[in-house]
Subunit: 239 residues, 2 copies
């Protein structure tokens, strides 16, 4: 599917619009739509909070109406407050951002994520018109996220829909090959000999190191450094 649009309905503070624009750029979204936004000055908080999104996402934001959005997109309205069960249809059933990520990955549709006002979110008469209700799991004691933070969490969860790659390097190859790990264990045994570790305790100490190393998935460099260290220590001790 194409990357969902992000729609903010009547945001009151420019800073939140900037925060949302930044999260969009961080997680690979570009289509920002604003329903009745406040003035967004180039010198104000929207641009101040947008980071590098001040170059593209924020200035390219569209002004839209709520009607245009619900008529043309598969809409997901985000809210902190759901109905308790199925007796009402306005805020139930709901989907979490993680579930939404799985769901949207299987559908070919133009989707739009809708976020509401800072104080009251999306109103019931708006939620009644969207296709799905989205809710972020949070503390039962205080479930209401700030607008910008709610958008950040939601876009983070949906990043696999939009990002081909992240900034993080591929780590799959990063565990040292097992022969290198075995050389580490061999050198450790030689080191125990050299240091005069009691022979009867040696197997147990070797098993200890095998358990520690076994669960750390050491990198090649870590493994070769440790191996070299034990080798050098054993050589010095044998001098």
């Amino acid at each position: 599917m194409s990357a969902p649009a992000v729609v903010v309905v009547e945001p009151q503070t420019p800073g939140n619009v900037g925060t949302i624009a930044r999260a969009m750029k961080n997680f690979g979204f570009s289509d920002l739509k604003l329903v009745d936004p406040p003035e967004l000055d180039r010198d104000g908080e929207a641009y101040g909070f947008a980071g590098q999104a001040r170059e593209d996402v924020l200035p390219n934001a569209d002004r839209v109406t709520f009607d245009e959005v619900v008529e043309n997109y598969h809409t997901i309205g985000m809210t902190a407050i759901t109905n308790e069960d199925c007796r009402k249809h306005t805020r139930f059933p709901f989907v979490t951002p993680a579930e939404l990520a799985d769901d949207l990955a299987t559908v070919d549709t133009e989707a739009a994520l809708l976020f509401g006002r800072e104080d009251n979110g999306l109103r019931n008469d708006e939620l009644e018109r969207v296709d799905r209700i989205g809710a972020i799991p949070a503390s039962a004691d205080y479930s209401s996220l700030n607008l910008g933070q709610a958008a950040t969490v939601t876009l983070y969860e949906l990043r696999d829909l939009t990002l081909d790659e992240t900034q993080l390097p591929d780590r799959e190859r990063e565990r040292a090959a097992q022969p290198a790990v075995e050389r580490l264990h061999d050198e450790f045994s030689a080191f125990l000999d050299a240091v005069g570790h009691p022979e009867e305790k040696q197997p147990k100490t070797e098993r200890m190191l095998r358990r520690v190393v076994g669960r750390t998935h050491p990198t090649e460099r870590e493994t070769s450094r440790l191996t070299g260290l034990f080798r050098k220590a054993a050589a010095r001790l044998d001098e």
Copy 2:
């Protein structure tokens, strides 16, 4: 394990401290520690951005030194920029927040999540002293999250360590029982008869509805409403 502490190292803007305090309360964290923070006025942005965390998390924040934290906690330093591979140890290997959630769930330890300055994050000389490096997967084009947003995403991912329950109701019982769904299909068949749907097309149309209903997991209320609707329509058509 106990809930990790959240440590912010030399935050520059009070607003970000407030944002982090709010995310902590949203996701069940309470122990906020600040290294050399700015002035946090009761009337300023820290309290303004903290939501209900202005009542507890924020006023209860401890002032600490970086040394105290690394000496007493299992520390995870968050950064947007990792090393590319294992040739350096400062920023590699790294762990994502989702991996960290799984990992910390299995350890009995007092852990602390460290977040750095708005402009430059944690410095190399600080990252060298923490136990683990944490990094949020983000766009390769723009991976640097705002401080408050980075903390929000991280705490969101770690919520299962701290929250016994969220605000969201248990949904497991919310799919209608199958006999109720079958009654819906029966009434739909009767409705097709009543509406004069061609008999040879009826099985295919029934299968269509079975597929639509099958993947929606309708609630009891949705199922009974639809069933009642088809029954009523059929009755009217038969009048």
